[in-house]
Symmetry: D2
Subunit: 334 residues, 4 copies
């Protein structure tokens, strides 16, 4: 008998990827998956890629989740706190939503509105000290997808004093699954194929999370919707602190022992397709010849290291399992 | 120490998928991967999705492969026989190329030219009797991607006498990885995105294989290149033998115990994205209301059940392992 | 002062393409564009590709359209008849919806439900005798997109007695704009990219129209949604009437003088991207070597020759203008 | 009889788009189209979207072009000067290549190598004074695609002193046609679909052109290959000169009378699909709330305003025609 796992909010894209990872995880037993409007449907009606997985979506309520050793919450922003409060104290919880990520309640209210639900341990194991904190926690707030891609590129450089934290410029493009599964006309295939489309320019809600996690103090962040289902490519630029900064050396040292973060060999740049279906982050860095700016490019699967994979990685740590259990380092390409 | 596995022809798309499956297979040790023009390169330079896999591509020659318990051949058509002849008799071999699939040497010469290399056990375990034949074989010819998609849809209906084998009409669309990795201008992204393009209309080289495997005696087969990297959707139509033929019932019985072939619930139709990265085949069938024709639609990942996954499934059987070891039933979506 | 043109239902994809063609038409003045929920919005808010077109969407009602010499109706199926009845008798009308295409009221009710609105002149100028009928008509029912692609491939062969009309098998794949602009979750970019998905298998509502227009008496028609915004590729197969049928010769004769129908040189097959933005249909034909079946492949832009372009071509005829005015023979590629 | 036009280098993507625009231009007669390896082929064999255009590709040599009033050069970088020198002095020439764009010979040599061919009038009519210079010129160097997208966003802000020219950060993503039509394996559809891939990070050859045209003195420019055939989306950020800079106001004034440059209404952001097939540039601007940086986003069709459309616009000016003749303001969407 494995560890009993439940997923609340299993009908969305992150929820579907969680189900896939849990079903393939050697130590996990998927005991419940819940949804709102899709409750009562077989999982395969909602996630046809899981053909053969014999489970029916339950209604998202405390009873459906009471029996789990660990619960993943993949709910719309703002709904995690209420549900988490109903879970048994013995249950560990990983929240994939934004509710418990921010330490700054004012920032929460400015970007999300409504009362701040509180702050949980931040679920990015590759940050210094964070792996141990996650392992010791019962409640973990998994990272946002843009925050993972940007923070893994930037945080070691800020921490090392290699770049100024005050003038960070990031342009990050995401596949459409990052925009969710709700039917919206601007997300129709007819609209997004063949199209690059910026959104929330100048004021994206992920800015506070990225600043908090990366150490940036001034962040211009422009997200772009890209014509592909999955993947984030973040181009992170910052002003070097000194003329001789070597960003590759800093990143190489920071991630030397990380199983999921790969600084690519010189001359090779990350691209999103190489991370599809994996929990890996690919990085490369250089200095711009014209301005000297540090440029770091980061690629992840937004539903993998950017959501469900990251959440499973945190769960492994919380449960005392090897951190890589049930996760793939390798992407599926082409 | 696991079973020693080598891949000859590891630089192409099927080769890359093989490497991914082998690297994640709990019983396999990848001991050699060979290539032609890419020999000497690290695997990750050729397959960046395999970041962290520390292996260099060797030259495709007997010495590089001599040490393996089982060798996968993922070579261009016509090159397998010569290399296979150099392998130790104790090595098991799975050929992903077309060389050893056909029993009819004349058909080989008509479509491929050159001498016929001989006939190996055909690597489609779901055909009646074939699972045992594969398990007993040292040399297996894995199926072609179009043949898998079409045969799984059609063979049980022909075998049951439910449809006439004489007037089968198939239109099958494939993702671009089916066309290989060689640089050709008509396969450029600029050309294929936004485009559906038929090819080899009226005379495709896979017709003899499909007829041999499915039992069709007359086959009109039209392949179409589709704007996606992976996946085959085959629409298979045939004239029913009697007015009361129920194609779903025939398929349900044929595949009741198959781990990788899923007849979907009524009302749900296969689509390719649900099979991405998996070794599954999704099927659905109905009768056309206007003509009464049986229509079966089949979806696979052309590099999964259509190539590398199928080859690993055969290898598992040949090695006495559980057939599903190291293979995923579930696709990655969206 | 040009001919006064109005579009009812201008907020959808066919409506947007109509606006583009009308705005660029040298003899047309766009005097009104109407919509339902989008009424009151500037056209460019709904169709950002028309930046610089200064017009506001009016409410779809008789007053908004009363002033036009010709009205295009691009309404949901079932809504054209009521609106058409309110238009002045002096106004010419081209209906892009299905309401007035079918001669068989029973077929209408079987596939669409509700009362049949009556039959207008069928707007496919390339059918024998139809060009004159359109030119003489005040009310024209423009063709459905699948019907155009299939009929142009098939009708000359049936009319010439070259193929049997009784066993026609068609598989036709369409870009997603054919499924409309309403927000539906299965049409999200995340779902459709990388995916081929059949739908309404065995009983598609376009079967009666295709049979009526092409002369087929038995039609197995399978539509597939393809991962691209625009384009239809129809693979049309039929049993030849005699062993020496030459389908190319029949098509060459039928379309020798047609400006928009191009039988490609031997050896070149139609593909959808070559028709993007044009009013052209590309055709090629052969005989299957295994079964002798005639195979004709047809490519169009579903919003061009399949909808808005076809409607403008009909309008040109109805208004006594050169048939090609304001339409492009050439596609935009890549 | 119209103005006699020739295209040297008509087999590539920019060449094909030029042929389409010329064939539809009311004042142009296409008298010659030349190519290298494709010479002798009918145009439609190379550009199937131009079905019905009856012309054969000639060999690129002086004789083939001698008869033209205006010659477009769409040759590989470095080949324009030699051919241009052979043209009659009476022939006007528009070069779509990079050879004659740069005033700084050292910059040419650093990024392209080889001797600098000299400097022609820069073909961006929307720059102050440039329209008249182009109209008076016999030799014009049409702009590079990235330079158009970036310069139109940035130049008015630099000229007005609204932003510092010294710390401009640009991330610009392009469709694959910008990478040309030569068969390269990293540009295969299998590679680019579903993928975002940065390239030439830190040192792109377009930096000198963008600096020269826009007035930037320090430019960090990161190009990204995006999974779509056409389109450029440039995200241009710069430090405002004063706290109260209003970038929209500056752009609105600069482009008030421009037919092809559209500053979108507030709240609407440019996206590439809206410019497909057009000669338009869509712009929007804001200030980043976290850092105050000015962010301007620009969208063009890289083969339209970024190449062939721009070249025709320049040719219209050089020939005394209305600047918009034969060009579309409107894109084709979806």
């Amino acid at each position: 008998m494995g560890i009993r796992i439940a997923v609340a909010g299993a009908s969305g894209y992150a929820g579907g990827e969680l189900l896939r990872l849990i079903a393939g995880h050697p130590e996990f037993d998927l005991v419940a998956a819940t949804a709102h409007s899709q409750a009562g449907q077989p999982v395969v009606a909602v996630h046809p890629q899981l053909a053969g997985l014999d489970l029916t979506l339950a209604v998202t309520d405390p009873a459906a989740l009471a029996d789990a050793d660990l619960v993943f919450l993949a709910l719309p922003h703002g709904e995690s706190a209420a549900l988490a409060a109903t879970l048994p104290p013995t249950a560990k919880v990983v929240d994939l939503g934004a509710d418990h990520r921010l330490a700054d309640a004012a920032a929460w209210q400015r970007y999300y509105g409504g009362p701040h639900a509180g702050t949980w341990v931040y679920g990015l194991p590759e940050l210094p000290g964070q792996r141990a904190a996650i392992a010791a926690a019962d409640r973990v707030a998994a990272t946002g997808c843009y925050a993972v891609a940007t923070t893994l590129a930037l945080a070691p450089l800020v921490a090392a004093g290699a770049v100024s934290p005050a003038d960070v410029v990031v342009v990050a493009a995401s596949g459409t699954s990052g925009a969710g599964r709700a039917a919206k006309s601007h997300l129709l295939g007819s609209e997004v194929m063949g199209d690059l489309s910026p959104y929330k320019v100048g004021a994206h809600q992920h800015v506070p999370e990225i600043k908090q996690a990366s150490g940036a103090t001034g962040l211009s962040f422009t997200p772009v919707l890209a014509p592909m289902p999955r993947g984030i490519l973040a181009t992170v630029t910052a002003v070097p602190a000194t003329a001789d900064v070597d960003p590759r050396a800093v990143l190489a040292e920071a991630y030397a022992d990380e199983p999921f973060v790969h600084l690519l060999p010189e001359g090779r740049w990350p691209h999103t397709a190489a991370t599809l279906g994996s929990n890996s982050c690919h990085l490369q860095a250089t200095r711009d010849v014209d301005t000297g700016r540090v440029i770091v490019v980061s690629a992840i699967d937004n539903l993998g290291k950017g959501a469900a994979g990251q959440a499973v990685q945190c769960a492994n740590l919380m449960l005392g399992l090897p951190e890589t259990t049930g996760l793939s380092v390798w992407g599926i390409a082409p």
